[in-house]
Amino acid sequence: MFESFLNSFPLLFSGGSFLSVLSAICIGLLIGLFVGALPGLTTLMAMAIVLPISFFMEPLIGIPFLIGVYKGGIFGGSIPAILVGLPGTGASVATTFDGPPLTRLGKGRKALETALYSSVIGDLSSDFVTILLIGPIALVALLIGPPELAAILFLSILIISSTSNGSVGKNMIMLAVGLLLALIGQDPIGALSRFTFDIFELRAGIPLLPMLIGLFAIPEILLNIENKSKNFIKSKLNLNKEEKLTWNEFKKLRKTIFRSTVIGTSIGMIPGVGQVVAAFVGYAAAKNASKHPERFGKGELEGIAAPEAANNAVNGPTLVPLLTLGIPGDNITAILLGAFVAHGLRPGPQLMNEQGSLIFAIMLCMIIANVLFLIIGYFTIPIFSKVVSIKKSYLLPLTIVFAFAGSFVFRHNPADLYFLVIFGVFGYILRKLSFDVTPLVMAFILAPPLEYAFGQTMSLGNENVLMYLLYEKPIATFILCVTPLITWKLWQRSKKLRQVAAETTEDIRNNN
């Protein structure tokens, strides 16, 4: 394997093709960046549309081109999340906690730069780890079956909801509501309709994107309108005058970025968990480790760095099952698989043996893509920042337009607009009653895969699940055993943190 790694260098750098590789990655990055930045258009759609273009290129140009679209798209999704609080995907939801507050404080540019640097560092380190540990990571993928996945997802839901804001009771209510909403539609195992009340639009379940935009962006807009009179003087933001991220500020983020990178890379090794969980767990961990957890959600740069580094660190290891076992772990890798196949390359153990150097060359391209991305991102951030430098009286209606357009473009289904409005109103009410919607969204996103894995485990257990777990699945049993301990510890800690937070707000009030 080491030999094929060494051979990948001449394959990539010799001949005149290296320049074409670089330009293909750059074009890909730009396409991804702009598509990702438009709410409602997902990285996945962008990749599916440009896939046939890659058919007509050399494999070492076409596949890096798609990787460029992928990497650009993920960062692009963070731009509206930071500037106007519109999450384009589940992975950028955690970024909407601290992004818009920072923008309101006039630190939008700093937030975007933090996101860029954390994404690139997280991604780059995970790519290096992936190249070094490709063999072991492939083994991990085979150790994770349905029982292990179910245990891990269950633990993730508990970690995230026990570190959310608000009271434990309210969080548990939100968790239950999220689980209930996730049950609507077809049940994942037997494909029977549940809670659909014979409404066909509900048969496919509640669509995620309109729900996210409704819950996060609409309340934000409504609250902004309410505060109009209060903030009217400060309503014009001018990001051109805004300061860049200083070296000292960046140095303070080092620990957070490192922690999130480790979290993201480990989560990426487990097929079927993915970026959403990584982003939330990264955020929760940063908040837990911070000396000032009360600042999170009010405009803390660490709150941007943590989810962004974590969700990008997932990228490297998720490619491993595809490259070594021929199994795509998610929709994005499934499209990459298509690109490989159209070039007559069928990823899997066979290809790894025969053309290992090509595989390593493609992984080197991922590293190159990160470096290029740092440069492209640095120069495009000022352009994007300008978008919100317009008057607030224009920005708010514009955000509403984007929220509706984004929800519609997603599936071209008018029913999605109803979902947007319903969840918008619902989210506004919840905000007024000081509920945190994070547990709801987490439960909604993680419940379907959890239910699937749970159903599979029950089926595989042959009617005696306890024996099956104890004798055949020690890893799952271990995770299930430590789950109560971890949750208890986090809960205790977050109780203390909440106390601290309450005291500081008290102090601020007294000082005023």
Partner: protein, 316 residues
């Protein structure tokens, strides 16, 4: 750099072919083709290949729109409600089109609301085990399944899907009871096989080829030269075409016949196109094109057969 120029020229040509539609004949504008399945699957890949080549025969582009959800019903319902003017088509498979109507109430009637434009190709599934498995034949696998009284674990790729239905057909014909566990698609079911969670699965040849010597093929629905000609199910005594997934293009009923003929004449030319054949060979797919009227007979026939199958399966 050469490649980049080539790429630019090709995309430019593609773009020009879209905008230079001065002729008043159908299709005057790009056609939308809905796939009721998710991105990256075999339907998506097949469609990406033929839609990138068909414009030169059709005079206009076919744009793929993925509308997954509710086992394919969301996208299918969308096309059923579309204007029957030939500008909205559906690219689906026989299980969504012909089987689901017997399982649940649908907001459309497949046979009445759609007519077949063409079958683009088909794939036949194969039964595979890990190469370290002691089973070398289908019979040996089923013998052990019988003696273990339903405890043997087999996997499939999702309820009423393209490997679940043939699996049920095979098992019910061979009178074998097993523990059938669903996986979320063909990839995860392969992972379940490799990690040892299940003993055997059905998989399509393109997925089996990539695994090299890690898996062993016990039997296939059709002759598969690329897998070293394993036994064919019908030769083992299994009745009919088991495990065939037909990839079909449907149009809403009421679409003018002359427009469907234009589509058919363009699509049928693909099977002699060199680039098309090259890409399909790489995908590991055949180019067994079948015209609409011919496929209508298959459609009616299979719909009838699935009715009985569903009856047997939901009873047990």
């Amino acid at each position: 750099m050469n490649n980049l120029i080539k790429f630019l020229i090709i995309s430019l040509l593609g773009f020009l072919s879209v905008i230079s539609q001065s002729q008043a004949q159908y299709p005057e504008k790009p056609i939308t083709m809905v796939i009721p399945l998710g991105p990256g699957g075999s339907h998506d890949l097949n469609a990406r290949v033929f839609t990138s080549i068909v414009p030169q025969y059709l005079g206009n582009a076919i744009i793929v729109k993925l509308v997954p959800g509710a086992s394919g019903q969301t996208g299918t319902a969308m096309v059923a409600q579309a204007k029957p003017d030939g500008y909205t088509l559906l690219f689906t498979h026989n299980y969504i089109d012909q089987l689901q109507q017997h399982v649940k109430k649908l907001p459309y009637n497949p046979l009445k609301d759609f007519k077949a434009v063409a079958r683009m190709n088909y794939s036949a599934a194969c039964m595979i085990v890990r190469s370290d498995s002691k089973h070398k034949t289908l019979k040996s696998l089923f013998d052990e399944a019988k003696s273990s009284k339903g405890k043997m674990k087999l996997g499939h790729s999702g309820m009423w899907g393209a490997t679940m239905v043939p699996m049920a057909q095979i098992l019910s014909w061979a009178k074998v009871q097993v523990n059938l566990t669903p996986f979320k698609g063909g990839g995860p079911s392969m992972q379940g096989l490799l990690s040892g969670d299940v003993e055997a699965i059905l998989q399509f040849p393109s997925g089996i080829n990539a695994q090299g010597d890690k898996v062993r093929t016990l039997a296939c629905g059709a002759k598969e030269k690329s897998l070293g000609n394993p036994p064919v199910l019908s030769d083992l005594g299994f009745p009919g075409q088991i495990g065939y997934m037909d990839r079909i293009i449907l149009a809403p009923a009421g679409t003018p016949d002359d427009r469907i003929k234009i589509l058919q004449s363009a699509l049928s030319k693909l099977k002699d196109d060199k680039t098309f054949k090259k890409f399909m060979k790489r995908l590991g797919e055949n180019t067994a094109y079948m015209n609409g009227p011919e496929y209508e007979k298959v459609r009616a026939d299979k719909s009838e057969k699935y009715k009985d199958l569903v009856k047997i399966m939901t009873k047990g």
